[in-house]
Symmetry: D2
Subunit: 336 residues, 4 copies
């Protein structure tokens, strides 16, 4: 299932070492101003950093728009975006053709499909998120017309909350041939109340599904999240006042529907599974093997997950916004 969304439907494709990655967006409202410049800056944020600690794969990630625009505006027809792969060094991966990397999708993909593009993880590569980010940039442009903003930030890296300590953690891990994870927070501001579609299309359910569809994400929480499990009801409930909610423990969602308060989401990112340290594994025939992963890998992908998480939240909220349009005329409710 490579399509996300019911109204703003994004179908992504592409492998790490294939000719191109891309997305077809079906259901984009007509009349939205779009161009490569709408998309490129967000793709650039997703690219590997330039520092000594980052992956050195040098992809320009230039987006090309194949359809869906007329004189610089969306027409309601599907918008196809592609990004060519340029710097794919497939030979780096020859050793991995028959060996499963621990913590990666190698074994499970093989178990599922019986065939596997081992080069850079193929479709299971983090590079797949190029297409998500491109789609997210279009969604953000749509949301901006309604004044909705989405911002992500790093909350923790390997348990550290202070940036310089985070950098040190990454550097130390890299030096040891190891890797670290962290926590990313994404917030959507100025969303109208009324978004979300009970009972299975609840806004938090959609967000949860979206975030956990990002590789390396192992947990998601809304508002207080896991901490809510340790509060009293009287602490966790948000009192209401004529000026709005007096607090936002709920993280902007009640009963699966947005309250109008900021929507607050946090995700847990596991440490990069590709590490130089030797690990124990098996090969295609189930025989024991040792593996030490060379190649160009980030010792911490948390910073690069930030725009991906923003993109996914944008996709969810725009989808809910379009869903909500259907009922506005009838309900007299929602956004005024």
């Amino acid at each position: 299932m490579n399509t996300f969304g019911r109204n703003f439907r994004c179908t992504t494709f592409g492998e790490s070492h294939g000719p191109a990655l891309g997305v077809v967006i079906d259901g984009c409202p007509p009349g939205v101003r779009l161009s490569p410049e709408t998309i490129q800056p967000m793709l650039d944020r997703r690219r590997p950093g330039r520092g000594p600690l980052a992956s050195s794969r040098a992809e320009a990630d230039t987006v090309e728009i194949l359809s869906g625009l007329f004189e610089g505006r969306s027409t309601g027809a599907p918008i196809a975006l592609i990004v060519r792969n340029r710097d794919a060094r497939s030979e780096d991966y020859d050793a991995l053709r028959t060996v499963f990397r621990p913590g990666h999708a190698d074994y499970t993909w093989q178990a599922k499909y019986g065939i596997r593009d081992h080069r850079g993880g193929g479709r299971s590569s983090g590079r797949e998120t190029v297409a998500r980010v491109a789609a997210g940039a279009v969604a953000l442009a749509c949301l901006a017309r309604d004044g909705i903003r989405i911002t992500g930030s790093i909350r923790e890296i390997h348990g550290r909350v202070i940036p310089r300590e985070q950098e040190r953690e990454i550097a130390e891990a890299a030096e040891r041939g190891d890797s670290v994870g962290g926590i990313v927070e994404v917030v959507a501001e100025d969303c109208p109340a009324g978004l979300g579609d009970p009972v299975f299309g609840k806004l938090d359910a959609a967000i949860g599904g979206a975030m956990l569809s990002i590789g390396a994400v192992k947990g998601v929480e809304i508002g207080e999240g896991f901490a809510a499990a340790r509060l009293f009801g009287s602490e966790n409930n948000d009192p209401m006042t004529p000026r709005g909610f007096a607090s936002n423990h709920a993280g902007g969602i009640l009963g699966g529907i947005s309250t109008g308060a900021p929507i607050v989401v946090r995700i847990a990112v596991k440490p990069t599974p590709s590490i130089r340290k030797e690990q124990q594994t098996v090969d295609l025939d189930g025989r024991p093997a040792a593996i030490a992963i060379a190649g160009r890998h980030d010792p911490c992908i948390v910073p690069r997950i930030v725009p991906v998480a923003e993109a996914m939240l944008a996709l969810v909220i725009l989808d809910a916004l379009l869903e909500q349009e259907k009922y506005l005329r009838y309900a007299g409710g929602g956004r005024e």
Copy 2:
């Protein structure tokens, strides 16, 4: 969106104080032995306890099967299940017609639809889970044919892990007119490798969406979950051996596809929003109001969430299993 699943599709309906709740299951494999006895025990587990601390709403929750069976077996036709509401004391809720309860869906439902069944929360009531549990019981019967078992348990209540301390927490909260939440863990054992549908139908994404669609759930994590964000890659990766994975930090899912190891999911349940303590709120016209919620409410719904979480995990896994069937003949992969 009241339908869950792509292959084993469950459409639920019903309000807390309406005539009935129910579910239509579309896509149940044919030939499965089913009867009310398949479903009733799990519904009984979901019912309020009998202790002094539990909600005293006395519903028998007797399931009736309206379609889809022939001589005690499923036929491939949709299976409709209904449970009549009997003990709905709607008059308890008259005071809530024009006032929004903090922590509930009252305000957001009104904002979305412009109309709202205020009696017991209407469709946003926890009573909605009756239909999920009924569907889950059918899914579990299907899964049992493949030897897959699903078990839920309480991990924490208000931060406590020892049962007698948990009971004390609940009792104390109840006494003060307050409420507490907790953490539930659900585990699926003996699932084949290969379940899950990258990149947006990943097994963990589907689980995340399913769990966060349960009212009161504010977070979900797989395997190490949020703790993974504080591990090194070398700690978090699960080494592989000829006998399988040497550990299960991944919680049974890699790259969104099941590994064959137990699938381990934890969810954060917020404290019941209905509390006797007075709270500050507003009415339909936005005027300030104070509210102290009478009626029959559990001071802690964590125990009753356990079968609901089991049900949702069963729905996700069965759905993935049916999806996987499509490719088995081609892939030669997955389950042998």
Copy 3:
């Protein structure tokens, strides 16, 4: 797949001789006045006639509403409707347990599912349309708020266009233990321009799928339909004038989108496959058998198809109308 529609989603269930038939409507706009009286008259039109030529199964087909209403209006929550089976004489069908009726779904259902409720055709019975008609009645109530009307009529029975000749055809066929088919036309008036969702959700594509999902329908055409294949372009094109289209060969749809002119659909209904005349067939073991079908069967179901076709057209148009709502704010197009 027992769900129809993307926005106004109807999930039907039930067998000819099971406890009940019904439908869950998910996505009904809130605020619509509904009651059993909204639905019952259309169900009554679908019931067997009372004449000597009609099926004598005596079902009251009384609808019960289980959910989704509050004080007589829809709330946005799913609306469950059920109709109990009362007069199911299952013993009439004992002889058919092991023999396939020609022209029926007996053989194909067995081939697909490996199990089959043979009583009255089970789920493949024409009685299944009870649920469609109930859903259609709700859709018509929604459409009426926008002034959209849908009317079906008999165009042909066994090639005859004059009512008294049609009746004679039916009578003669019945006398000989045979059956006849015919053609039904359904027209939707006062639909706004702009309905339909290119390229695969075109309005005519949706109508075609809807109509051919009715048992016994073997063809569908829009506007001129098959006759258009014999016209010149200059004859078939509808000239446009400042007052609208000068003709309606297109049947109200161009490029898969409604033009604002009446939407005109015709369907071909095959003769009832259940006939008293002896037919050649096989049994479950593939052995030759002769069959002469007793029981209560209409020699012509064309009149009873009329409300079913109206219902399906209503479902399609309401679904397209809700889809279109999503874009109105953006497009400034469609309905004013």
Copy 4:
């Protein structure tokens, strides 16, 4: 809605005069041998003929595969195919920017979206079918592995069944600046019994939706189709024998499920709406206008519809085949 299919999901994109057309296929079984050579011959069949009567737009329609293959075989990941537009003479269409062509989607697209790519009809151009045919070629390759074949043919052009008379009709119409339509038949042979998903995903319903989603198609019928409306039940029923059905009036489908007999579909194609003859129309402001359409247009598109109809039937049948896989293990039914 630019996605077709539930299991073999094809999302198409592209306009007549944009950079490219294409399709993303999601859900292709893994392990299928595919290359540009699998697809190009069918694309070539769809291209305009070279005769004096055909459109002279000279597109090579060369397909490029962007993803989803590894060493010449499908991997289960989405397959993206694109075809670049080369010979788009947009200036031919400048006169049509503000005038609606009768019989085209110009007016309805404008009404729906409020914006429109007028160049060659934009997304509503027949050129859109390039993507369908590319996807259909992949589907046919999958079906071939199960021995299923699909063949289309011209049955009528402007009422004529003899090829040389058909050619004369086209030539005469072209000479007069007019156009003609016709009837195409498509047959699928050696399909297993059991395909189709009652009650709304019936095989004939899916075929009807697929065929009417092709531009210019105004009617669809299965087996006897409209002629069945004039037969007696005793004539139209297909007797069964130990060697199979004795006739095939049903066109290979009973109760919405394939019987194993050939699946026979006919579609009515309207005359090309683009004609040189002057026609009456209106402009964007609703003022009367006269139009005589220059540019490169086929006086009869029936021959070019043949591969498109084959493609759509292939997509429907493969989709049903994958759906059916889900239940084979349970049912013991369907294909052996």
